[in-house]
């Protein structure tokens, strides 16, 4: 049993993956909480598909350099995020079909760009490959986490106000758009930095699932953020152990764990869960 739990982390690459995933588990879920509260969950779909063409272009021009692929991913992610925001304003909130169009297009473009290249494994890019977590990839994850937390702390109050009451924000401080943009940059950085270990499709899972689950445990923002971070760290550790022992890619293993925690929260959480609804007085 102990072997099952500890053996994975006797290996260098697993330790690197663990360190990177824990760093992201601290940085990404708070962003996820805001995405959920702002009803922007769909944005995470757009991003997970949207970064793909950028990563592909980075790989085409600079080979398998994590930095080049990361940079391409960030540029592409920001582009689709801004495009999505623009579409949302244009369509007055009825943007979901437009956003679906956008991310399908991005996914198709990314797959088409990558599929023709030899030496790049599409599965690794989409679902992650812990073996590929080299030092640059680890520094990327740790670096993004290091930047995200202080910046988030800095924009916390304006971001809360903008999420709580955009009309009020617009009427008073005005610069709601600026905080929103900084927030989007952080989201894109977190999604992209996780792609080596978790894959583009799965790294969003570490951001969103713990955040959605946390809603069932706390009715304060700080409480939800703390819960989400805790759940994400749990998912990272448990997911990597499963990934190693069952020989499944790390991304899906971590997201499956996070998904199981979400399902548990939905059923048994202390707030608005199925259990609570069935037994209001319990």
């Amino acid at each position: 049993m102990l072997d099952f739990l500890l053996e994975p982390f006797t290996l260098g690459f697993m330790r690197r993956a663990l360190a990177g995933c824990l760093a992201l588990s601290v940085a990404a879920p708070p962003l996820g909480v805001f995405l959920v509260l702002r009803r922007m969950s769909l944005m995470s779909d757009v991003l997970q598909h949207g970064v793909l063409p950028g990563i592909a272009v980075g790989a085409i021009f600079a080979g398998l350099s994590v930095w080049a692929m990361g940079l391409g991913g960030v540029v592409a992610g920001l582009t689709v995020a801004l495009l999505a925001g623009w579409l949302a304003r244009r369509t007055g909130g009825r943007e979901d079909s437009q956003l679906a169009g956008l991310y399908l297009l991005a996914l198709a473009a990314g797959v088409a760009l990558i599929a023709g290249r030899r030496g790049i494994d599409l599965t690794h890019i989409l679902f992650g490959n812990v073996l590929a977590v080299d030092d640059p990839a680890l520094f990327g994850m740790a670096g993004v986490a290091t930047v995200t937390l202080p910046v988030l702390a800095l924009i916390w109050r304006p971001l809360v106000l903008e999420s709580l009451d955009p009309g009020f924000m617009a009427a008073t401080a005005g610069r709601g758009g600026l905080w929103h943009l900084i927030f989007l940059v952080l989201v894109v950085l977190c999604v992209v930095s996780g792609f080596v270990a978790l894959g583009t499709l799965m790294s969003v899972g570490l951001m969103m699932l713990p955040a959605v689950a946390a809603q069932h445990w706390s009715n304060s923002l700080a409480g939800q953020v703390r819960t989400a971070v805790l759940l994400a760290c749990l998912s990272s550790v448990a997911g990597l152990i499963l990934s190693y022992n069952l020989d499944i890619p790390a991304g899906p293993a971590i997201v499956l764990t996070a998904g199981a925690l979400w399902a548990f929260s939905l059923i048994a959480g202390s707030r608005a869960s199925l259990w609570r609804q069935a037994m209001p007085d319990a």
């Binding site: 800095l154 304006p158 106000l161 009451d165 955009p166 009020f168 008073t172 009715n219 304060s220």
Partner: protein, 218 residues
Amino acid sequence: MITFDDVELRHDGRIVLSGVSGTIASGSLTALTGPNGSGKTTLLRAIAGLHPLSGGRIVRHGLEPADIALLAQGSQLDRSFPIACRDVVALAAPRVGPFRQIGRDQLAAATAALSRTGLDGMDRRPVQALSAGQFQRLLFARTIVRDARLILLDEPFTAVDAASTQLLLSVVHEWHAQGRTVIAVLHDMDMVRRHFPHTLLLAGQTAQWDADTGIQAA
């Protein structure tokens, strides 16, 4: 003082108001009235600088955006957001920004504003748990801490029971006594007559100042 000089306002190219001229004196208490769709909300938003003028000007005589507080009709405040009443109010305090903490003073001011609007002891109550009337009181508390020189209230007493209305009306009078300029959109003509020395009536795309509503100057 706010001066309107031949102001014209449009929505999607369609004229809502035109030829509005006149002044609202500093420290005055004005009721803005008129039928639904007559442009009251649009005019208030224009005064706050949130709706572009398609003609004329509004001179604000040194009032900065930070000096103006608008209590909007159909507030966009997300009532499912996990936040406590006191924090909603404290976030509205002037000069809260990225590098400026919410200090003890602001929290104390928020608590005081909550109790002024009859929300004593609701500091930690989540906004989700408020009734419609309590929510309107919360918006008033938030307006109090703005400490603004010009206060714009858009249908502030909608969904508020009689007792709450009396309480909130006393807040409006207190603002007036403190020398703040207050403009409130109202439908209750009896209340307008009893409490508002000045009126601005919107009808037929234009404005009529201190129209005869049987007002006794106060």
